[in-house]
């Protein structure tokens, strides 16, 4: 896992808990053209943040989902 991926994972754990890694892997695989999350790059962040906001909104309340997306974007 690269440094950026590790940073994003730590941020996401604070919101999603232990399932954060699996969650991020699925977002990257499904919405970033099969990209492996561990290989994520800074150019991928806007798209990742968008899908995290949508998907996380099904797990936590919308304000927290938006907050998580903001933090990922600024990672």
């Amino acid at each position: 896992m690269n440094v950026l991926a590790d940073k994003i994972l730590k941020i996401t754990i604070e919101y999603i808990g232990p399932a954060a890694e699996r969650f991020l892997e699925r977002q990257a695989e499904r919405h970033l053209n099969g990209l492996k999350f561990s290989d994520i790059e800074r150019k991928d962040l806007p798209e990742l943040a968008k899908w995290v906001k949508i998907s996380a909104g099904l797990l936590v309340d919308n304000s927290r989902a938006s907050e998580l997306a903001e933090k990922i974007l600024k990672a």
Partner: protein, 270 residues
Amino acid sequence: MKKIIYSLQTKLIASFILLIVVIAGGTFFYTFNETKKALKETMRDELKTVASAVATQINGDSLSILKMGDESKNSFRIIRDQLLTIRSSNPDIKFVYTMRNENGKVSFIVDADFGNKDDAAKPGDPYEKTNPRLLEGFYKSSADDDFTIDQWGSVLSGYAPIKDIRGNNVALVGIDMESSRVIEKQNFIGNTIYLIIGISILIAAAIIGIFSLTIIRDIKKLNQNATEISKGNTNVTVEVNRKDEIGELAESFSRMVASLKFMMMDQDKI
């Protein structure tokens, strides 16, 4: 009913009320007792001062020779009228009288009420209910330690020795102050303290009730979320936003719920 008894809110409120009652009750009893003592001491000091002042005005030589049957004598009337004037000058004074001590037997000489009240003491009437403070009054100014209840009522008494021209102690003057005023003051203070404690308990209970309500409300929300998820309903959101320990608990809970929801959700949905 059982739920109310065992609820956290009930326990919190009951605990704090108990604590306030214990602290306030202790403070009340100490303060009330000390105030009672202080009031009584003030009254004792006042009585000693008044008795001493009165004693200096009475002719000890004339008084010392009065005996049973001397009620019609001029010297008796003069002293009686003096005592009556003193008694009338202060509405708090109930009785003024003089006594002698002959070989340990205490008897009245002149009572201010003689001739005006049927139950007034006559010269030579024995006084049976002596106490150390009264006996002390034949030598120095003193006052009873506590209220005296006898056939003449409930009073606090002060005494001072009456001297003859040679400076010998020949009798004492006794001043009895009506006790109801002192008791009234004590009761007033006691009732005021009760009132303050009562109001304090109500205010404290209200504050604690409101405070605990906010805590219990959020704990109930978390409890409800946990109950729903435990029954398989993952469609829950944790809506507790606080900055204290309960807020931290809510955040941890939110993370667990999110992970659980993710695991349980249809793979195609997310």
